[in-house]
Every structure is written in structure tokens, then in C-alpha cells.
Amino acid sequence: MGNTLVDIKNLRVSFFTPAGEVKALNDVSIKMEEGEVLGIVGESGSGKSVTAYSLMGLIPYPGRIVGGTIDFNGHRINDMSEAEMRAIRGNEVSIIFQDPMTSLNPVYTIGNQIMEVILLHTDKNKEQAYERAVELLTLVGINEPAKRMKQYPHELSGGMRQRVMIAIALACEPKLLIADEPTTALDVTIQAQILELMMELKQKIGMSIIMITHDLGIVANMCQKIAVMYGGKVVECGTADEIFYNPRHEYTKGLLRSIPRLTDKEHRKLIPIEGTPVDMLNPPAGCPFAPRCNSCMKICLGRMPEYTDLSETHYSACWLLQKEEFERRGQGA
């Protein structure tokens, strides 16, 4: 195991909206080692993007951190000033957003937007920055890079733009790349290309990646470690093998039942998870998944379960696991 790169402890983030406090993150703890690829999986509103944004100090208005700590690469992120954060952003940690169509400024050329970040974080002069930008465009697989440098975002396709976003993100060889649903807005064929590119670049540059997605297929291929989020909490966390072959949380099990597998027998029926996601404005007192859970117990409705360690890397928060342990220890006694 390498050095710890990211250590998020008991993080709480709330959005103070006119309608009330929305607890977007409720006691989230995630740890990740250098060189790892961590997948954060969950449905819309589960808090996966907010987790990533808080790591970069990018929580949008009116949200703010209300508790917990974030350590990244030796920095205590939540204690840092905006100026200190700026030195890290785009440099040690960078991010690729979901929608490449809107993530690039429409009124500046591609070249301008890549060079901007190079000039900001390195001592390179304009010519060197230009060369580096062309090099980056080549690296992310864009043909005719010199020509692209002069083009505007609207002149490129979605896949190309996402490649440009990756080039911007990688410009200063960051320690950590956060990919916030990088392929959701793209065609399936392009998706595969982009993911392949990211893995290839990971090998070349040697960075870590946090992959945020609702697509279990993506994390299965890419990630060593997976955190499953639901209702602002990490409900289960473990290695890819543990999550896929030994899911212990009812939500994770539900997720896995709802996706098709190549190994399936012809007529296996996909089972959707019934119900709707939690209303984060009025979150339930107990387990957020309880109202949709088929194995829901009375206790689930009123109290949040503690984490149960299942292996050195695998833990999950579910009363069923607590119950098992409870019974096992009860028998032992």
C-alpha cells in the first residue's frame, strides 16, 4: 500500500437554501491511497459530486462544510484560504466535468484555455506554454493539434471537447484527477474511448483518479476501490471484487440486480429498485435507504446504523449486518 493521498473524515456539507438546510453530505468518510482509482457510485443527489467538489474547495453557493476534515496530499483542505486553494486547484488536483459542451468558455479558443492553466501554475513563457498545449492535445489523441488550438469550443464535437477538458486537467500533471461523470453526456462509443484514454494517461503520468459515476459498468473496469453513496452517506465501501462479488448493503445489492451482465442466463429479469430517492430537505432519521429497502426493519426507520467492518478494506452501514454480528456475538456469549 502506498501513501494516503486523500483522507476525508466525517465530512458534513449543507446547502442553506431558502427552503431550509439541505444536508448534502452527512458524515462521509473516504480514504484513498496514491496511485489508486477510486470509484464513487450513486444516483443523482446521493452526494457523490459534492464529495468531489469539497475536495477541491469548489462547493457551490449556498453550500458549505459544516463538519469533518479533508486531508489531501499533506494539505488540510478545509482550513485553507481561498488563495492557498487556488495554488492547488488545476495543479495538484484537477477535475473533469460531466458536460463538455458547457464546461469550456465559448468565447475563447481551445489554445487559450489550455495555455491559461499552464501559464498560471508553471514558470513557462508563452511559447513554451503553447508547445506544452500542443503536446497535451497530441497526448489526449486530438489530431491536427496546431489547428485545434485556434478553434473555438463550438467547432469541436462533444468527445473532442472532453479530450480538451482532460488536456486542461492534465496540464500540470496533477496528483489526483477527479472525473465527475466524464462520459455521461457522450455517445457510448466515445465513452469507451475517453475511459481508455484516462486509464492510459494514468499509467503514463502516474496519478490517482476519483471516478464519479452512476454507471457500475465503468467502475467495474477501472476502479480498484469503490464507495457506494446513498442519501449523502457512504453506505458501502470496498475493493471492486468485494463490492461486485460480495455486496453486503441492500442498496448495493439492488444496484447490481438492476444492471444486465454478459454472464447472465438468457432470461434473467432486471430488478429495478422501487421508490424514489430521498428528499434531502427532509431526510429520514434512520437509514436513508430504509423506505425503499425490501429487508427494512423497524430500527432502520429511526436510527442510522454504524459501519460494520467486513474485511480490512470492506465496510458497510446496514442494520442487517449489525444484526448478524449481534446474533453471532449473542451466540458466542
Binding site: T276, N282, C293, M297, K298, I299, L301, G330
Partner: protein, 349 residues
């Protein structure tokens, strides 16, 4: 397994681990009530304090302008001799004499002008003219504009092309200039019509000036509305929910009523409301430069214009219409903003 010996004990009870029934689960799911577009919009509008205050102000001004003159003892064209240039609440010598004789004389709240006309009643009539212009002109704009825009939007293709080219041209015409030109020239034919052709004498009761204003507003101001309605219809036609409705077998009538119109309504209401202050603005401008409503009918603009010569001695004569016009425009603007926020957040500019 006994609960007393439970090592994990956090006041846990075996019964806690019994399966929960669906009712218990449901009690956790807080569903927001779904409300209709109208009720939702009205609720939001009513919650908007600024808009509600503005609404109240407009109602008060309407009472002032339409009911005020009925109970007010002076008339707007009445020139009280000997009572010229009175300050607010001042009485002329004659009036003081009358009062000494025991007669009651109604006070001139805002004084009188250089012709001995009571300014309060003129302010009422001026506000009436402004409100009338604003509301009637906007109604005309709504009628013509939405009809034109809807036709262009529905038919599309060549019809749309020709109709919108016409709109483009009218749109590039500088409106105020044409309005001035029309007002200058329409006056004579209209007066002629009113005085010489039987059946048109009603023009005189409304006033040639007002008719002119309505005609030119109706001729020029509808293009903005037409553009908005057309673009709304065009985009709505293409939207997924319309396709979905079609796929579900909804009739054209139902699609138009249920999907196109309801979704247009917000924009229509907002644009019409915001058209009112803009028409009032233009009318006061025209009256100020001396080509709006014809004397002796007062308008807030013409009152302000007449007051300029005496600006040093009688600033209140100017301030009264000035404050009134600003208040009316401000209130309508705020109501319009409130409606836009409530019904059509997309329109927010």
C-alpha cells in the same frame, strides 16, 4: 440471546429487528403535494410581498383615478376665476369671503394652476388617462400580437417566413419617430371624421389624442408580442412532452389546449403586464412634448410639461404628476417582475 447480556447494547431491542411494514416505510417518504401550474404560480405570486404591495398601490391609484373624480366637487376643465396659482390648501380671497359667510368651500389639496384649475382633479384625470392608455394599448398588443404570432408559429414554413419578415421590418422601424409622425398627421383626418361623419362622434368623447395613441400603439407595438408568442409556440411544438402527448394519442386540440397554451400563458401574462408601463411611458413622453392627449384633457405628461415654466415658484405642480407617473410605472414593473418570477422563470432576463 438475551438482551441484558448484549455486548453491543445500545439500548437495542430484538423487536427492533422485526421487519418494518410498508406503512411504516411510507411514513418516511415525504412527498410534496403536486399542484397545478396556475395554483402554483398564484401561490408564488401571492407570496411575493413586493408584487402584492405594488398590486395594492395600483388598486388605490385606480380608485383615485376612476372613482375620485366622481365624488370630487371640481371638474378638470373648470377654471375658477380669482383662484389662479394657489398653493396647496390655500384659499383665494373670494373663497375666504364665502367661507366667512358660512359657506363651506372644498379645499384645493394641491392648489390650482395658472388658469385657476384645481390640480388634484387634474391629477386624477391624468392618472385615468395614463391607466387607460396602458391597459387598452396592452390589450390591443396582446390581441394582435398573440394572434399574429400564433398563426406564424402554427403554420410555419412559407407563411411564417413572410409574416416574420414583415415583423422584422416593423421591428427595425424606430417606433417613437413613427408614432410622432402618425400622431401629427392622424389628428386632422380623425377630427374630420369625428365632426363630419355621423356615427363617429364617439371619437370626440374619448378624445382624438387618445384614439391616435391607441391606433399607433396597435400598429407598431404588437411585433414584440408576436415574436415572443411565435418563438414560444415553435419551441413548444418541438418539445418532448408534446411528442410524448402525440405518441400517447392526444388530439391536436388537447395538445394545443393542454400543452401549448398553458405553457405560453406565463409568457403572455408577463409580456402583457410589462407592456402596460411601457405604453404609459410612451404616452407621458408624447404628452410632454405636446402631441399626446389634447387639451383641456390633462395627462400626467402634459401637466408636467405645463409646470416647467413655473418650476421656480411652484415645484409641487411638477412633482405631483412626476411622482404619480413614476409610481404607476414602478408598480406595474414590479407586478410584472413578480408575475414573471411566479409563472415564467425562464423569461427572466
Amino acid at each position: 440471546m438475551t438482551k441484558e447480556k448484549n455486548p453491543l447494547s445500545l439500548q437495542l431491542d430484538v423487536s427492533d429487528f422485526l421487519p418494518a411494514d410498508s406503512e411504516e416505510k411510507q411514513s418516511l417518504v415525504v412527498m410534496r403535494k403536486s399542484v397545478s401550474f396556475w395554483r402554483d404560480g398564484m401561490r408564488r405570486f401571492k407570496r411575493n410581498k413586493i408584487a402584492m404591495v405594488s398590486f395594492a398601490v395600483i388598486i388605490i391609484i385606480m380608485i383615485f383615478a376612476f372613482i375620485g373624480p366622481v365624488i370630487y366637487p371640481y371638474s378638470y376643465e373648470q377654471q375658477i376665476r380669482g383662484s389662479e396659482n394657489l398653493a396647496p390648501m390655500e384659499y383665494s380671497e373670494q373663497e375666504l369671503e364665502l367661507m366667512a359667510q358660512g359657506q363651506s368651500v372644498f379645499p384645493h389639496f394641491l392648489g390650482t394652476d395658472s388658469l385657476g384649475r384645481d390640480i388634484m382633479i387634474r391629477l386624477m384625470m391624468g392618472s385615468r388617462v395614463s391607466l387607460l392608455v396602458g391597459i387598452v394599448a396592452s390589450a390591443l398588443v396582446l390581441l394582435i400580437g398573440s394572434l399574429y404570432g400564433a398563426i406564424a408559429g402554427y403554420f410555419g414554413g412559407k407563411v411564417d417566413l413572410v409574416m416574420m419578415r414583415i415583423v422584422d421590418i416593423i421591428y427595425t422601424v424606430p417606433d417613437i419617430l413613427i408614432i410622432i409622425l402618425l400622431m401629427v398627421t392622424l389628428k386632422y383626418p380623425l377630427e374630420n371624421l369625428a365632426n363630419n361623419v355621423p356615427g363617429f362622434s364617439w371619437i370626440n368623447t374619448i378624445g382624438v389624442g387618445l384614439i391616435c395613441i391607441f391606433i399607433v400603439f396597435a400598429l407598431l407595438y404588437w411585433v414584440g408580442m408576436a415574436r415572443i408568442v411565435r418563438s414560444q409556440i415553435l419551441t413548444l411544438k418541438e418539445q418532448e412532452f408534446v411528442t410524448a402527448a402525440k405518441a400517447l394519442g392526444a388530439s391536436h386540440g388537447r395538445i394545443i389546449r393542454k400543452h401549448l397554451l398553458t405553457n405560453c400563458m406565463g409568457a403572455l401574462i408577463v409580456t402583457t403586464t410589462l407592456q402596460i408601463p411601457s405604453s404609459i411611458f410612451t404616452e407621458s413622453f408624447l404628452s410632454f412634448i405636446g402631441i399626446g392627449v389634447a387639451a383641456p384633457m390633462p395627462s400626467l405628461g402634459s401637466m408636467a410639461s405645463q409646470a416647467i415654466s413655473g418650476i421656480t415658484s411652484y415645484p409641487h405642480r411638477l412633482l405631483a404628476p412626476a411622482i404619480m407617473i413614476s409610481l404607476i410605472i414602478l408598480s406595474f414593473n414590479l407586478i410584472g417582475d413578480g408575475l414573471r418570477d411566479a409563472f415564467d422563470p425562464k423569461l427572466k432576463d
